[in-house]
């Protein structure tokens, strides 16, 4: 298995030197292999968001390095970072972040168009991913015309259409009702298992985390322990997780 993501001794300190400083990340280390579905769990203030921002290259670590596909992010300038994000990373956000002035098809096509893919090739690629995610019928509609669950599928299609090295999902079910949330999570697990989509999901929801194959717990800016699903069913993994969280309290 090849390593897709490596986080090496990453720290993040907010506040200027000499002033009151706040260390959000205190030396984070972990790696994600190709085809893995990893969840990072933690309470608010644990450093989840800071970590995700650094992984997605939107923020820079104070010390340490992040490698995605063996590329060290800290060596890239702003333009290279933008290009890097557009090629290597797919994003799913809690509040979908779809452009409501574009149709769903146009939303999904945008990353391809930004990467300069030939216009002739774009629509077939959009159709392919939309069919995979079961949203082909709603492609001509605007985001405002479809349900929250469908919106998140469109967002997932947009995140995956350019075949990124890794899918970063930030509380993807946070704004969904339980049925839509469940459907989305099954889809993500399905994509991971059958299409080998490497996924890193940040969440505080044990139900969502139980779909992952490995869970990392972040607390006070450090990765504590991890849980592996191994051969367990999702339900078993979920109960184990709940027990683990209870004892952790």
């Amino acid at each position: 298995m090849t390593e897709i993501l490596r986080v090496d001794q990453v720290t993040k300190t907010y506040g200027k030197r000499g002033e009151k400083q706040c260390q959000a990340l205190k030396g984070v280390n972990f790696a994600v292999n190709s085809g893995e579905f990893v969840a990072i769990m933690g309470a608010s203030g644990s450093g989840k968001t800071t970590l995700l921002n650094i992984l997605s290259t939107l923020d820079k670590p104070t010390t340490g390095n992040v490698f995605i596909n063996h590329q060290d992010n800290s060596t890239l300038n702003a333009n290279q970072l933008a290009d890097f994000r557009s090629k290597q990373i797919g994003f799913i956000f809690q509040d979908f972040n779809l452009l409501e002035n574009l149709t769903n098809r146009e939303n999904i096509a945008l990353p391809l168009s930004l990467r300069g893919i030939s216009p002739r090739k774009i629509d077939p690629l959009v159709d392919k991913i939309a069919t995979r995610l079961g949203i082909k019928e709603i492609l001509p509609k605007y985001p405002a015309e479809v349900s929250g669950g469908q919106k998140q599928r469109v967002a997932a299609a947009r995140a995956l259409v350019h075949e990124p090295a890794i899918l970063l999902a930030d509380e993807p079910t946070g704004a969904l009702d339980s049925k839509s949330a469940r459907e989305l999570l099954f889809t993500m697990a399905d994509l991971n298992q059958n299409d080998d989509i490497t996924t890193l999901m940040v969440t505080h929801d044990p139900f969502a985390a139980s779909f992952a194959s490995r869970i990392l717990f972040i607390k006070d800016g450090k990765i504590g322990e991890q849980m592996l699903k191994k051969g367990q069913s999702r339900q078993e993994f979920y109960h184990l997780l709940i027990d683990h969280l209870d004892t952790d309290e």
């Binding site: 702003a78 933008a82 990373i89 972040n97 452009l99 409501e100 947009r158």
Partner: protein, 601 residues
Amino acid sequence: MIWKLSLTGIKSRFKDYAVLFSGLVVASMIFYMFLTITINPTFIKNDIVAPSNYVRFTFGFGIVLLVIITAIYLVYANSFLLSMRKHDYGMYMMLGAKSTKIGALIFLETLITGILATIVGILLGFGLTAIVSQLLISRLDLTVKHFAVVLPNAVIWTIIFFILIFLFGALKNVRKLTRTPVIELLRDDQKPVAYKRQPVLHWIQGTLGLVLLAVGYFILGLPGGAILFIIPAALVTIVAGSYFTFNAFFSALIGFLLNRRSFSYHGIRIFTLGQLKFRLHDYTRILTVVSLLFALALGAITVGLNFSTLSEQLKGNFYYDTTIISNSPKVMQAENKLTITRQQTFHYKEQGKYLYFNRSEFTNNPVKNVKFYMKNGQPAYKTIDLPTKKLDVPATYANNAFGAMVPNGIAKIIRLVSPEKWAAKTGQKKFVSFVNVKNFDQDYFTILKLQKQQLKENPAYADIYTSSKAGSYQLIKNFSSGFEFMGFFLGFAFLTMLASTLMFKVLSGAASDKVRYQMLFEIGTRVKILRQSIRNEIGVLFLLPGVLGVIDVLFGLRLFKLLLPHPYQNLWIPFTIFIVLYLIYYLLTVKLYEKIVLAHE
């Protein structure tokens, strides 16, 4: 407590406030300047040589237009103010502030911002008025003794006008905010926009828009006799045409481009087009207003500047540049300064009611004259020799024309006699000398001095003075400079306000656009490409009304064919001024917008 919140709210958005505030200051400054120059009693009553009723009417018309544009401008500035504060107000209400209290707060905030801006604007307006009036006075060669820069009436009217508008705006803001649910105030940015898809209806409406515009332009070209029909008919068709064109035609066009994947699937184009599609829908009214005001403003400057062609054209109506009838030392002194290229001198003796000329002096030396006639319904001029034998035949063209060129030539009877008879005539011996100079413009002031001196020496010179080339030129130049000035400043005031109106409209939407740009940045769009998208999007919003306005002007100028000899002459001057100013506003809007939406990067 709530006041403290409000103050900190303003402080935190000081930059946005500064833009709004300076916009309001500029508006009141220009308004005051215009009002002061227009209603300055010294200016109107004594100094502009033209029928004063006519001038009053023109300037009054200017003020009405200025009031309209200022009001529209303030409405949009006000909505920008509201969009900036909406979120804060929503937050106070969520925290439990009573809506009546918030209402009072909004009311006072709007009113105080407005009053402060008006006062600063008027103070700066004093300076602007002083500069502009000096420029104007020197341009017009006027001798204005007491031009009042601080005019109490203008101050009062500016304050009243602005306070009324702000009062109206404040009430509107209060109504709007207190009736909007708190949740919408807080999350307005995220409210989905409903977009109706009716392509067929759009194309029909778009075609109708273009047809109406074409009809309007056609009407503008109708013969001038039907002016009472032309203006209202053109106004209705062009306004409706512009509205439909913006509402349907342009969005249909953008929809068409969006669906041409080979065009739209290029870089960020698809996003820019999507933004524009929604924008245009929301901007229909303002783009219509801007295109029409743009046309009015550009038209005002073009026509104003064009009035100067009147005085240029006038120079061609005279054959001789000046007339000399005296050889006093002062006159001789002035005469010596002229670059005379041709001089025809005729001697005569004034006896009772007769002026006796020596016929021999006219042999091979005919008096020249420029004759006016109509050619294909247009005024035309040609140079002719006045036939010598008809010079003393009453009621002939030659007799009348010559009479007007000689002191007392109309009042007395002109006789041409043989040299012998002339020698025998008694009476005061005089002469009249018709002069051509090398360059009239260069010698203009010397000629004026020479003519004034002769008028002082001889009251009979008065007739010649007023109908002389220099005299008429002076008169029409004052008149046309007044128009030129009016057109220029009215146009300038219009342009600054309409461009700021558009600017505020664009900026009002910036807060909600921020999320989109942030998202594009996150999925890996280079900042350079985001900037390019912003430039293109705002560029189209500025360009469309600008282009439509230019077309309106090009057709509208046909109306002025009756009044002006060449309405299309030197078109590039006003167009260049306009385009440069408009471009500056465009760049400013882009910069401010970028500052708001790209704040994170």
